[in-house]
């Protein structure tokens, strides 16, 4: 594992240097495209060689019903900070709903494995620190491909650090239980995305560009909770607002 990390770091150093040379017709939203592409290729190889086979094995071993229970369990843990982010964005009603979900699902739903709150009509939301920053008026900043994780932006990557930092699962002890479960959580997440990634492969002429544009569109939509102001067609490629440093 250490050797692997060393290699990854070395690779990053190389691509960071090559990233300084940007082509003249680069997309204004993606000034670091050469570096991002290199990281994307690295992620893609890692995904193809390790993550996808593991996720596929996971999916074939566990029945869909069991996988849904596991997804529910992690989704319930996520709801705690989805609530916090809703409150930070001033959406108190949504935040209270998120915490009500946690309350019902953790108790009647047996530690979250049953999403009883959805059955009761309390819908799940989707929030994170990146979206909260966006709501506060911070633009996405340059697009960033993060090793092992995937598409992000300067704003969303910063948000992700906070998402991980505050994740309630970090408080679980002992670490001999907590850490392997983190691994399983990531495998479960990758398995959830298997269908989406095979679609990407099908639909895209250039997967890097397709993924980037889909990511940026999706994040914009999430920041505005599904009601983004309409953009004129030509404006889709507008340069991002300067990010707050």
């Amino acid at each position: 594992m250490t050797r692997f990390l060393l290699r990854a770091t070395a690779l990053l150093a190389v691509v960071a240097v090559s990233g300084c040379a940007t082509s003249p017709d680069a997309d204004p939203r993606d000034p670091l495209e050469p570096m991002n592409r290199a990281i994307y290729n690295f992620n893609d190889s890692f995904d193809e060689a390790i993550a996808t086979p593991v996720a596929k094995a996971y999916r074939s071993v566990l029945h869909v019903e069991i996988r849904n229970r596991i997804s529910n369990f992690w989704s319930n843990i996520g709801d705690v900070f989805i609530g916090v982010n809703n409150v930070l964005q001033g959406k108190f009603q949504d935040g209270i709903e998120d915490w009500a979900r946690v309350a019902f699902n953790s108790t009647i739903g047996l530690f979250g494995i049953h999403d009883v709150a959805s059955d009761m009509g309390i819908e799940k939301h989707d929030e994170d620190f990146g979206q909260t920053f966006g709501r506060w008026g911070i633009g996405p900043g340059p697009y960033l491909m993060i090793p092992f994780i995937g598409p992000s932006t300067l704003r969303d990557g910063t948000g992700l650090v906070l998402d991980f930092h505050f994740d309630p699962w970090n408080d679980v002890t002992p670490s001999s239980f907590r850490d392997p479960m983190w691994g399983l959580r990531l495998v479960n997440r990758r398995a959830e995305l298997l269908d989406a990634s095979s679609l990407l492969e099908q639909a895209a002429l250039d997967r890097y560009i397709f993924l980037r544009d889909a990511y940026l569109q999706r994040r914009r939509n999430q920041v505005y909770d599904g009601q983004p102001p309409r953009q004129r067609d030509e404006d889709v490629n507008e340069p991002p607002k300067p990010a707050v440093k």
Binding site: D25, D27, V64, N68, S71, N72, S75, D115, S118, E123, K124, H125, D126, D195, S198, L199, Q202, A203, A204, L205, D206, I209, F210, D213, A214, Q217, R218, R220, N221, Q222, G226, P228, D233, E234, V236, N237
Partner: protein, 205 residues
């Protein structure tokens, strides 16, 4: 009046009514009927369930394609480059883009497993000719996934010219890709690129 005559008159009335209904089907009703009809077909069809991609493509061609305006979709995805394309190039672009979208759509449908749909009431005035029909896919443990169909009224009924899944518009997404390929290898390069992609997908099944 004899029976034949009555039957004939009845039949013509029915035809008229049918033609009228065809023309007047509101966009939200259209999306709902077509979605439910297609899903029922594929869930019941044993061959499709067993992975017969050709049959699935047939169902899509017959039931779904007539409700899409591929000329509009292609011209929107091409943006400014559309104006510089020759009629022959336009035709090839529309054909290749249609094939790619249908194949992708088929894969999405093949991954379908008993998710529930929430068809949202249409928020538009009766005089509107350009609307967004909203559908939400519900699945436990995740936020509902919205699917938005942008639809335009045409002489042959309402036609979709863009689909956005989870806020990601297909047309907008292809616009950057198309522009990049056209910039580096021209419109003919894009056509070749699309055709190569299609034949590669066709082989894989």
């Amino acid at each position: 009046m004899n029976m034949t005559k009555i039957t004939a008159i009845l039949a013509s009335f029915l035809l008229l009514a049918a033609a009228h209904a065809q023309e007047a089907t509101p966009p939200d009703v259209l999306v709902k009927t077509v979605t439910l009809e297609v899903l029922e077909l594929i869930v019941k069809d044993k061959e499709i369930q067993a992975g017969n991609r050709a049959k699935l493509l047939q169902v899509i061609s017959a039931k779904v394609l007539p409700h899409f305006d591929f000329d509009s979709m292609t011209s929107l995805a091409m943006g400014q480059n559309w104006r510089t394309a020759t009629p022959e190039q336009k035709k090839q672009l529309v054909d290749a883009f249609r094939t790619l979208l249908v194949r992708t759509y088929a894969s999405a449908l093949a991954a379908y497993s008993d998710q529930k749909f929430d068809f949202r009431p249409l928020r538009a005035k009766p005089t509107d000719t350009d609307v967004v029909v909203q559908v939400r896919v519900l699945q436990p443990g995740t936020q509902p996934v919205p699917i938005d169909y942008s639809m335009e009224k045409t002489p042959s009924g309402w036609k979709a010219y863009d689909v956005a899944v989870g806020g990601v518009s297909l047309v907008a997404n292809y616009r950057t890709e198309f522009a990049t390929v056209v910039r580096s290898s021209g419109i003919d390069g894009l056509i070749r690129n699309l055709q190569a992609k299609n034949s590669q997908l066709g082989q894989k099944k």
